[in-house]
């Protein structure tokens, strides 16, 4: 504990240098911007803007990209409340009570509780990350290839089980991710597979370019279909909670903080899931559940806190195990690799400055976002009026430049175009995109650990000799079985289909 606080102190010294504060601010601003603009979420923005971080120091680059991630969570709230248009999936649930509050002339209340809830959620989960991260990393260092492979299988099964309307669609998405990951050199012997004689494919497909296509370009193509203008924002009037609203709002913020943080630890969830569960939980715990949907502050505070708290929780598997729990985190993992770092248990030892600097910057970023949100909400809402006929072409050209700069070649744009068209088709077919990118990122590690485990144990039997591996494999079967049963009973929530 003392060591964690000492490291956190070192991290704060890194985070509060003028350069890092500036880039944290830029990341938060960009995150807010993409959160406010309907159609472009944190995944798309992070993927599109990674190339801009090439020239930066690694810790500064990661601080900026993380700022985009949690900034997007804040930004999505504003349009949900003021124009009933969620900027990103996690804010869908905020519309239910946020917009009715705005219609009653209490938009200020909704924005205030959302901003304070987001701040509390963000700060508390960052503390959780600082305290739990090193302990989980220490535990993860005891993992051998069998345990790591079983852990990855578990992660993959939760991705298949929790994402998408149907198990088979999730499985299709996973197979696409695995197949794309096979392209290039194999991780053990260096044999080039599925290269088709193309020189650029020897090193495999790049996760950033692929993400830009699957998330960014596919979203642009969907947006280009119908170039209508977004609605007008509602005026912000009263921003004071009624005395009887204070206690339930505070309690919903506390519950949301815990819920979001622990949901972040589960691979395959997205920030929309804790928001949804928090709303449902608050409604069940409320003395007046019938008022939910008509404009109650706790209906905004709980989900908003949960989706921001989720961010800190979701960082733990990335920092400690090298496992991304959500698409945005998978893209962040790509950024780590581009800056010469491999997320995993050794990251706390090899790059403590980056890890603790990033964790500390999340405190700074949350303070910046609170300042940006409370007095400036009205200004941000006006940005949602940018017509999509102007917005999408602009985002497209930025994305294309980003794809070009990955390898300084037009091949990146070609890969982005092909994956964009595939992503567009998958979206139309209701096949979730998130498992594809998550599995793509994990596939190399999965293959490497499987092959090492088979070699060390002279066969598949070794996987079942380790208790940890066995428990994880059984848990994978349980997750898939429950998901299948839920699907057969048609009980899967439609919101779970939302990618981040």
């Amino acid at each position: 504990m003392v060591e964690a606080f000492s490291s956190l102190y070192e991290g704060i010294l890194i985070a509060i240098t003028p350069e890092n504060i500036l880039y944290c601010f830029i990341g938060c601003m960009v995150g807010m911007l993409v959160g406010v603009l309907p159609g472009i979420g944190p995944s798309e923005a992070t993927a599109l803007l990674i190339p801009l971080s090439y020239g930066l120091d690694s810790v500064t680059a990661i601080i900026m990209l993380c700022g985009i991630y949690y900034g997007g969570m804040y930004g999505g709230t504003i349009t949900s409340v003021l124009i009933n248009t969620p900027g990103e999936a996690a804010s869908v649930i905020t519309c239910l009570d946020g917009y009715p509050l705005a219609m009653q002339g209490r938009a200020g209340v909704a924005l205030k509780v959302a901003a304070v809830g987001s701040f509390v959620g963000g700060i508390s989960s960052t503390f959780g990350l600082a305290l739990l991260g090193p302990a989980v990393a220490d535990f993860a260092l005891s993992f051998g290839p069998s345990e790591l492979f079983a852990l990855l299988v578990f992660g993959m099964s939760t991705v298949i089980g929790l994402m998408g309307k149907s198990l088979i669609r999730g499985l299709i998405a996973v197979c696409i991710g695995l197949s794309l990951a096979l392209v290039g050199m194999d991780p053990i012997s260096g044999t080039i597979r599925y290269g088709f004689g193309i020189r650029e494919l020897v090193s495999g497909l790049d996760v950033v370019t692929l993400s830009m296509g699957l998330f960014g370009l596919s979203e642009i193509l969907v947006g280009m279909e119908n170039l209508s203008v977004a609605g007008k924002a509602t005026a912000i009037n009263s921003s004071k909670l009624l005395p009887e609203e204070v206690r339930p709002t505070v309690m919903s913020i506390i519950r949301g903080s815990f819920l979001g943080f622990f949901m972040g630890l589960i691979p395959g969830t997205s920030s929309a899931v804790p928001a949804l569960i928090s709303y449902s939980m608050e409604k069940n715990l409320s003395k007046h559940p019938e008022k939910f949907g008509t404009g109650v502050p706790e209906g905004v505070a709980g989900p908003e806190t949960a989706n921001n708290s989720y961010v800190g929780g979701a960082m733990i598997p990335l920092f400690t195990l090298g496992i991304p729990c959500s698409p945005t985190i998978a893209i962040l993992m790509g950024a780590f690799m581009m800056h010469g770092m491999t997320p995993g248990p050794t990251l706390f030892i090899t790059n403590p400055d980056v890890i603790w600097g990033t964790i500390a910057s999340m405190f700074v970023g949350n303070i910046i976002l609170l300042i940006l949100n409370l007095p400036l909400a009205g200004m941000w809402a006006k940005l949602a009026d940018v017509p999509s006929k102007l917005l999408y072409p602009v985002v497209l050209i930025v994305a294309m430049m980003g794809a070009y700069t990955v390898d300084n070649s037009v091949f990146g744009i070609v890969v982005m175009l092909i994956s964009g068209v595939i992503g567009y088709a998958l979206k139309k077919l209701d096949i979730p995109l998130a498992p594809t990118i998550l599995v793509f990122v994990l596939a190399d590690m999965m293959e490497q650990n499987l092959l090492q485990s088979l070699k060390i144990n002279s066969g598949i039997g070794g996987l079942f000799k380790s208790t940890t591996a066995l428990v994880l494999l059984i848990a994978s079967v349980v997750v898939i079985t429950f998901s299948l049963i839920a699907e057969l009973k048609n009980k899967k929530s439609a919101l779970l289909t939302h990618d981040e």
Partner: protein, 159 residues
Amino acid sequence: MTNQNNNPIRKWNAGAIVGVLFTSCSVYYFVKSFEYPYRNRFGVGPGLFPRWVSLLAIVAGVVYTLVSIFKDKFTVGDTFPHGKELLNVLTTILAILVFVLIVKQTGFLVASVLLLFVLFIRPYPVWKALLYAIIVSAIVFAIFKIGFSVPIPVNRWGF
């Protein structure tokens, strides 16, 4: 609109078509996986993972196709856009392709102005489309090239 509705392609089962395409690609992957040794001197070889992954993909593809045929039916018309919406999407894809083909010769600024002009010309008047295309391209060029020193493609005049 009537012609659109009468188009037989729009009545095809989209899920089944995609399922068959996906299965075919998986079969190709499976066959190709035999080019890589299943075992080598290190023990297991580079063919093992692709073999099992492509097999899993074949099973997933077949199940998806069957589900699309017998349970979860949806047509091309229900799934993909048509008319003006389809034209907007195709125009975007085509504009990107043209950009890819010309950017090395013309440099970023010219290719970008052309791409954006093609995209802006549909919703805006010509002069506005051209003006927006030039302004946006110049700003993006300044941010990437000057602001972040990113080596974007330029022509012999430096843009």
